[in-house]
């Protein structure tokens, strides 16, 4: 099995390079000259001297042909040098490292919220197909996937923060709070609204998927065999059906992790949450090349990792894959 994973990992390497090329090409199609950008952002620090400018152009490889630029960039990335952010004036790595935990807190909480709600609702609506609960869930699921995330966030803020005052409007923490429990509860209060908004929208798509997976399994012959053996309903559903349905469900839940990061971008913007999503957004619109491209690559890596994780889980649960095919 270790061989299997090594193989999968190696398969991801060319994909990683392919993604890096695509991202690189897109980023380099953005209009604007970097040196001009730097001068606009920092008129005093930048020279006007054409000689010096030429040196800088060479130093930054600005006039090299695209493939050369790509490889220079790739080389520095692989050695851990992500460059300098022109907007924040600090190394990109530091910026990402400082913002990443905030996004992780948000995404993991939202992911957990998603699971906690989606699993039971999905299972029950599959088991009680066509019941009122099922119809209500279906409508709720439709609503969830049709809601614009940012609008849902805005409405939530209007209702819960502005009108009811239960939660703060934005940010991750309030300044000047002391004492562990105070800080903790303050952080939680800031986390609730963004995490729920991010999580509930995901619940909608998961619920439908869970329902469909379970329904498919319930249609299988071996479930009918279990009923024919006299196994009581609850046991059939939990021991026979659910275990089989979990295979595709786990895969999707793991594969959706990148979407949480993507969704976090908008949520972080609405809630002014100091995370990677907002960092990425700011970088892209200010043409902060190094920061932007590093953020995008980071997202790509997260995607590849979650693919690997999904694979891993799949293999763990399904004995057919785990053992390979033996016997006639």
């Amino acid at each position: 099995m270790k061989v299997y994973f090594l193989k999968r990992f190696l398969e991801l390497v060319p994909i990683f390079f392919a993604i890096s090329i695509i991202i690189f090409v897109i980023m380099n199609s953005m209009p604007g000259d970097p040196l001009l950008q730097m001068r606009m952002q920092n008129p005093r620090a930048m020279t006007n001297d054409p000689e010096r400018m030429k040196e800088l152009r060479e130093y930054y490889h600005l006039d090299d042909p695209l493939p050369v630029k790509y490889f220079t960039w790739l080389k520095s990335v692989l050695t851990g040098d992500l460059g300098y952010s022109s907007m924040y004036k600090s190394p990109v790595i530091d910026l990402i490292a400082s913002r990443l935990p905030n996004t992780l807190v948000l995404t993991i909480t939202a992911w957990l919220i998603g699971l906690v709600f989606a699993l039971p609702i999905g299972i029950i609506s599959a088991v009680k197909k066509y019941s009122t609960f099922d119809y209500a869930t279906t409508i709720f699921a439709f609503i969830g996937i049709s809601l614009p995330g940012f609008w849902f966030a805005l409405i939530a803020i209007i209702i819960f923060s502005v009108n009811l005052g239960w939660f703060p409007v934005s940010g991750m923490a309030t300044y000047g709070i002391t004492g562990f429990w105070n800080i903790f509860s303050d952080r939680v209060r800031h986390l609730v609204l963004p995490a729920f908004v991010l999580g509930l929208v995901q619940v909608a798509s998961w619920v439908r998927y869970i329902r469909t997976s379970l329904l498919e399994v319930l249609d299988q012959d071996y479930v009918r065999t279990a009923y024919a053996k006299g196994v009581p309903d609850r046991k059939v559903i939990i021991k026979h059906a659910l275990k089989n349905a979990m295979i595709p469900i786990i895969t999707i839940i793991a594969l959706d992790i990148p979407y949480f990061f993507g969704g976090a971008l908008i949520i972080e913007t609405v809630f002014s949450w100091p995370g990677m999503g907002r960092l990425m957004y700011n970088a892209v619109i200010s043409s902060d090349y190094n920061l932007a491209i590093s953020c995008l690559m980071f997202l790509a890596i997260i995607t590849l990792i979650s693919n690997l994780v999904a694979d891993f889980l799949y293999v763990m649960v399904d004995p057919r894959i785990r053992m390979g095919r033996k016997g006639a």
């Binding site: 197909k129 012959d221 053996k229 006299g230 009581p232 057919r320």
Partner: protein, 328 residues
């Protein structure tokens, strides 16, 4: 001779988006202890649903007719509650299904799946149940049962899986075994083995057996009595010799004569008989006798539902041609 099963006026309907469909209407048959009954008919005649309805293994949108009665050992089981029915399934009445490839749960060992019946119906603990399962595997002719017991279904061949299904079904020595096309999905040589096994076990356990099939060869091999179904009704029923030597219903005659015979001398060989037309869909049953459109000897009276008439002691037929006999 105790009457194990008595099915009276079985009518099964389904409620669908397209309206109400009644694929089975007016089916009556019975079975004594130790007897083997064959239900034969083409695909789509309703024989499988008939078999499933005995232990109510039909989907939620199915319902039985008002006058339908299903008596198992004198008890009407068609009105039992969920829990009571679960006590009967797998213990007093068992089923073997058509597709051994998909009828076993891929995520559990075959040992676990067989011992499930023991744990459920005889209250045995895991170890005892496993011991009994190993015994059953030995009984159905699986070599090295102690090793096999820990294997997963995908590690076994089709024939072996069907043996496992039989082991599971006979584990608690049921009084009635219902086998739905038990050998249809198997290779011919394996078919013979499995049928032989079934005969052996039948006499050993003295189980009353219902075999559903479209294969007249299987009927000839295994059955004492036969019931011929067409378009949701029984068109002829009788002992196995009656049906094969003296078929009376035009459909039965057509079936019997359409079997190619290899042991007939060349001079006696006739053209293969063919019944023209198609089996009607339940939403489109013809008026009156359902076989009328394809019947070579139909006449005007056939536009009305023919009665079931007894022509010999154990031989009855649903056809206007035999109006003289005692109407059943």
């Amino acid at each position: 001779m105790e009457r194990i099963l008595e099915v009276d006026n079985l009518k099964i309907s389904f409620r669908t988006q397209l309206g109400k469909i009644t694929p089975v209407d007016g089916v009556s048959f019975g079975l004594s202890k130790g007897e083997t009954l064959g239900i034969v008919g083409e695909s789509g005649c309703g024989k499988t649903i008939t078999a499933f309805s005995i232990i109510k293994l039909l989907p939620k949108n199915a319902f039985l007719g008002d006058k339908t009665k299903i008596s198992f050992r004198g008890r009407d089981i068609s009105t039992l509650s969920k829990e009571e029915l679960q006590k009967i399934r797998g213990k007093s009445i068992s089923m073997v299904f058509q597709e051994p490839m998909t009828s076993l749960n891929p995520l559990y060992t075959i040992g676990w799946q067989i011992s499930e019946v023991y744990r459920l119906h005889e209250g045995l603990d895991e170890d005892d149940a496993m011991k009994r399962s190993i015994e059953m595997l030995r009984l159905v002719g699986i070599p090295e049962p102690q090793k096999r017991v820990k294997e997963f279904p995908h590690q076994l061949s089709g024939g072996m899986r069907q043996r496992v299904m039989i082991a599971m079904a006979l584990a608690c020595s049921p009084e009635l075994l219902i086998a739905d096309e038990p050998t249809t999905a198997l290779d011919v040589t394996i078919q013979a083995q499995v049928l032989e096994l079934m005969n052996e076990l039948k006499s050993k356990f003295d189980t009353a057996t219902i075999i559903i099939t479209h294969d007249l060869g299987v009927i000839a091999e295994m059955c004492d009595r036969v019931v011929v179904m067409y378009a949701g009704q029984i068109v002829e029923s009788g002992g196995v010799f009656d049906i094969f030597d003296k078929p009376v219903h035009p459909y039965t005659k057509g079936l019997i004569s359409s079997i190619p015979k290899i042991d007939v001398a060349k001079k006696d060989q006739k053209k293969l008989n063919v019944i023209n037309g198609y089996v009607p869909h339940p939403s489109n049953f013809p008026e009156g006798c359902r076989f009328r459109p394809r019947c070579p000897v139909a006449f005007e009276k056939c536009l009305q539902q023919p009665p079931v008439v007894q022509i010999e002691r154990q031989h009855s037929v649903r056809c206007w041609l035999f109006e003289g006999g005692d109407v059943l």
